[in-house]
Amino acid sequence: MLREIYEPKIVGFFCNWCSYRAADGAGTARIKYAPNVRVVRLMCSGRVDPAFVLKALALGADGVLVAGCHPGECHYIEQNYKTMRRFAMLQHTLTALGISARRVRLVWASAGEGAHLAREIDRFVEDVRTLGPLHWQTQLAEPDHTAEIDRILVEHAEAMEVGR
């Protein structure tokens, strides 16, 4: 039997001022990197509500990459420190929920570090590849009991002589 082809689906949240420009720069410099990351540009990594990451995972992402300016270089002074603290709590929580902390990663990249960011993306994609698909919606799928419940409804109605 043919096994399913697996290309990790990764959502990236990149800060406008550094990492998004780094990714742009990598493109301009024709540096090759894995095409698995769908990037969402935000003004700052501090804008990344942990709910964004959870939602991405819940809706089918296999991993989430957050990228921001280096510590001390955030354009909104110290928001990326908050990102770092949130990230620690998020990873701690995901681990407790049986989701590997390796499915989410936080990287710092300044506007000039296109090559560095490209390398980080490649490494992350390979790491998520070894973890395999997350397929969160299948974790939530209960066998469908609709038919059974409809049968109970009919049985009750007959036994209780509803409508007679």
């Binding site: 082809i5 697996y6 942990p50 819940a58 949130r86 709590m89 973890l131 009750h156």
Partner: protein, 335 residues
């Protein structure tokens, strides 16, 4: 027939506290009885599911449904009461967001059965019998409800008209809802009946700058009585929890544990709480932060999602944790 309205009160995966929450209306319960005939409430009256099955659709004016959906029987009752009720209210934290029964979403049916029927010290089950949904016995076919792996909220099961949060809902908020129903001043269908803001907005403690080097657990400190509990290092869910209780727990020197669910506009209470706590940790050093979190929050799911796991974005823990998968890497796409 009287010209009173009809009221149903039902319980699913819950503890019975919501019925007590209704009784906490005290003498106002007489006003409720004057306005409504209670047509179905297994907690206090001898009424059966079959009585509901006999009713025409939409016969019940208001159904207060408490409890989450853990079994096929509860799902059946949820659907039946939806069909028979004009207004279906998810009453209390369990129906609204899973509550404590929903915390069992960190595990699954198999391990719950093993704990309850095999492993618990008080269990004597030499035949290692586990409940089955169907069994043949002496020529009879016997059936039990199917026990699900995942607790769902009422809103994840059927269409809900209103949500009344709280574990249990505060009597004053229940009364507000009764008045809104009687006077026809209900908000838009699908909304939460209650406050929009957070517990912090009702809390009278003084707040100043929050800088925390270590989280403490309630048994480790005797909190000072006027200062914000979070500033004292206790994890208080106030910043991520809907107001409505007059900040009942902080008032008696105990941190909020989040029973009113997320405040308006917040989808995931745990994520909101993580955001709030990240702002107060006093360290910019990744390793130190990691240590503060690990040592200060030994049970992140029970701390951030004590009442709202079933209602959160992920809803449950992985059925097969990443750590337990042993698949070979799948083939990649051709370059």
């Amino acid at each position: 027939m009287s010209d009173k309205g009809t009221l149903a009160i039902y319980w699913a995966a819950s503890c019975g506290g919501c019925e007590i929450g209704i009784l906490a209306l005290n003498e106002k319960i007489l006003d409720v009885a004057a306005a409504f005939d209670i047509v179905f409430c297994p907690c206090i009256m001898d009424t059966k599911a079959r009585d509901v099955e006999h009713m025409p659709d939409g016969h019940i004016d208001v159904c207060l449904f408490n409890g989450g959906i853990r079994t096929s029987e509860q799902e059946y009752m949820a659907r039946l009461l939806r069909q028979k009720s004009k207004v279906l209210v998810a009453f209390g934290s369990c129906a609204h967001e899973g509550c404590i029964p929903g915390l069992a979403n960190v595990t699954n049916r198999q391990s719950i059965f093993e704990t309850v029927y095999l492993d618990s010290p008080s269990t004597d089950n030499p035949g290692r019998t586990l409940p089955l949904p169907e069994v043949q016995h002496n020529g009879f076919h016997l059936a039990l409800p199917v026990f699900y792996d995942t607790v769902r909220t009422l809103g994840q099961t059927v269409k809900v008209d209103y949500y009344l949060p709280g574990c249990p809902p505060e009597a004053d908020r229940v009364w507000d809802a009764v008045v809104a129903i009687l006077e026809g001043t209900l908000p838009a269908p699908g909304s939460v009946i209650g406050a929009q803001t957070t517990v912090c907005d009702e809390c009278t403690r003084t707040r100043s700058e929050k800088k925390i080097k270590a989280f403490k657990r309630t048994w480790q400190v005797w909190p000072e009585e006027s200062q914000c509990l979070l500033e004292q290092g206790l994890i208080c869910c106030g910043p991520a929890t809907r107001a409505g209780c007059q900040s009942r727990c902080p008032t008696v020197n105990s941190p909020c544990i989040g029973c009113y669910g997320p405040n308006a506009g917040v989808e995931d209470q745990g994520a909101r709480l993580i955001t709030a706590l990240a702002s107060v940790i006093d360290s910019n050093d990744a390793e130190e932060v990691e240590r503060i979190v690990r040592e200060g929050v030994p049970d992140p799911v029970g701390t951030f999602y004590r009442f709202s796991l079933a209602h959160s974005l992920l809803r449950r823990a992985a059925l097969v944790p990443d750590e337990e998968r042993h698949e070979l890497p799948l083939p990649r796409a051709a370059q």
